[in-house]
Amino acid sequence: MEVFFKKTLIIIALIMVVLVLGIMLTLIIESIPSMKSLGLKYLWGKTWDPVNNVYGAYPFLLGTLLTSFISLIISIPFSFAIAVYLGEYNSKGWLSNVLKNLVELIAAVPSVIYGFWGLLVLVPLVRAFEIKFNILPYGIGIFTSSIVLAIMIIPYAASMGRELIKMVPSNLKEGAYSLGATRYEVIKNVILPYTKTGLFAGVLLSLGRALGETMAVTMVIGNTTLIPTSIFAPGNTMASVIANEFTEADHTLYLSALIELGLFLFCVTVVINMIGKFLISRYTNK
């Protein structure tokens, strides 16, 4: 039984590895026609023109990075506040439970619902805001999709942060209290430094979600291939372009360019994750 169990674990783990490598290999093979025809220009080309077979991923790379990082910046204060409140101030009891479940529910709502909410509720608000400040009042665009994304990714960093903050050994906290620290000082000087790595990992998880989100973004970003000129301008993301154009990509090079976009997104995600891992290990070794 012991051997059998161990072998099953190894096999299942291997299947996952093979699957990821297989996906990467398929993406590479399928994007060969596009790589051959466009070369490296694909990465910084600014035109995406399926009629003339000119493909450049730059506007979508920009859109993906802008929406992901802006949404991250918006979401961090909220997710950390939730984590601290539910982990430290109110970690037990029915209210804490209700709040915890509600936050987790945010992650369970299908993304198309967020898209609709964004389109019907948020877009008019943003448009009114834009009219007030004399910005071209599209309503939809990078900024709107960043807000929608921010709400969607809050629970990832929040749940992880809450669990970690709860796990801070109580003798550390009690030590700080006995030295006369206030609650704020305990949080600032004991809890946050102790959980720093984990909080950062939670943020990374949120970022991963933001990079790959498709449906909600498609509905509120404006889907234009033009390069965004401000954060209120419409744009497009890599995932959204693939979802929009994949089913009707009717010639080889077009399809291949879309798959290369997938490969590119795959690489961007890997690189960002690696940078994150590197940062984590640097801070923990100190």
């Binding site: 003339n52 790959g212 404006g222 889907n223 089913t247």
Partner: protein, 349 residues
């Protein structure tokens, strides 16, 4: 991750198709393709089933997907809103037949406060709006054609489809024909590099953008505009007549001499009463039906279905807001269906 599951599920569907095609029973025909005629096809095929006992299993996965399924020989017929392009024709490697079934139209829908249903637009105005050259509703070229109509002086916001679609193919084919500027700068296709405006996913995405933004203009399928009671524009056609898009004017657009293979965009029609932004939708089969070990019986059943679609089946089109084939189009369609062969011999007499 989502993308990956998508690719996986496509693979699974393909496997499913492959196995079901192998286990084909004699009572079921398989088809896949365009989403635009799907409501009509499901009505037609259920009537056909009630009449003949033959079941037609149609998957509306998109025109490109339908052609791919036919190329992989996993379906009996594909369905598409646009004729197959050069790339697809090379890939399929055998002669195919395009059988026109019905036609549909693309209408310009807009959001202008006030009572102004049915404003008139000329071809050059439409092209310049979508090129981003005309940016205000108060442009003299719009106002001069709509005397007495209350058009507020709003900036124009262009809304287009963000996903690849037959609707876009029809619309850009029209723009390419009426504007040389559009033809050289943008061209025609199911997805193009739009010089202006915002993209919405699907008819509902475009109409959502238009409904929300005063001053917006977009294009959707006629059937979608009718179902949702949206305002749409009258268009001046090639003969200079002002045409309201309707089932009659769309059918009329197809009442011209069609090429023998029917592979044509009906846009910018010569027909005097025809609405100029219209297009056919096709069912596509292999010309030689003896492939992959198909039986003569199966080929006969398929051809009988297609014959029925262009004759008795046509009565179900108008109630669902599709435009039935014109007389000219029907003649061409009959000829095409008759040209299908089994071992080089015609199947229908």
């Amino acid at each position: 991750m989502k993308k990956i599951t998508q690719i996986l599920s496509i693979a699974l569907i393909a496997v499913g198709f492959a196995s079901s095609a192998k286990a084909q029973d004699d009572k079921t025909l398989l088809g896949a393709g365009a989403t635009f005629p799907y409501p009509l096809y499901s009505k037609m095929f259920s009537e056909y089933n009630a009449k003949t006992g033959i079941q037609v299993n149609y998957q509306s996965i998109g025109s490109g997907g339908g052609i791919l399924q036919l190329t992989n020989k996993t379906v009996d017929f594909g369905a598409s809103d646009g004729p197959m392009n050069a790339d697809q024709t090379t890939k399929i490697g055998a002669p195919v037949l395009h059988i026109p079934i019905v036609s549909g139209a693309v209408v310009l829908t807009y959001n202008l406060p006030g009572d102004n249903n049915g404003i008139v637009l000329t071809p050059d105005v439409i092209a310049d709006i979508f090129l981003g050259k005309i940016t205000s509703w108060s442009d003299p070229r719009i106002v001069s054609k709509n005397k007495g109509v209350n058009i507020p002086a709003l900036p124009i916001l262009v809304a287009h489809r963000s996903d690849g679609s037959g609707t876009t193919a029809i619309f850009t084919s029209y723009l390419s024909k009426v504007s040389s500027d559009w033809n050289t700068k943008v061209g025609q296709g199911g997805a193009v590099n739009w010089p202006a405006g915002l993209g919405g996913k699907g008819n509902e995405g475009v109409s959502g953008l238009v409904k929300q933004t005063p001053g917006a203009i977009g294009y959707v399928e006629l059937i979608y505009a009718l179902q949702n009671k949206m305002d749409y524009a009258k268009v001046v056609n090639k003969k200079g007549k002002i045409i309201l898009p309707s089932i009659a004017s769309v059918t009329a657009a197809g009442n011209v001499k069609l090429p023998e293979d029917s592979k044509i965009f009906l846009t910018d029609t010569d027909a005097p009463d025809g609405y100029p932004i219209a297009g056919l939708t096709w069912q596509i089969i292999y010309k030689e039906q003896n492939y992959n070990g198909r039986s003569l019986d199966r080929a006969k059943k398929l051809l009988a279905l297609l014959w029925w679609n262009i004759h008795e089946g046509q009565q179900y089109a108008a109630p669902l807001n599709y435009a039935p084939l014109s007389k000219e189009a029907l003649k061409v369609a009959e000829k095409i269906v008759k040209s299908a062969t089994y071992d080089g011999k015609p199947i229908l007499k």
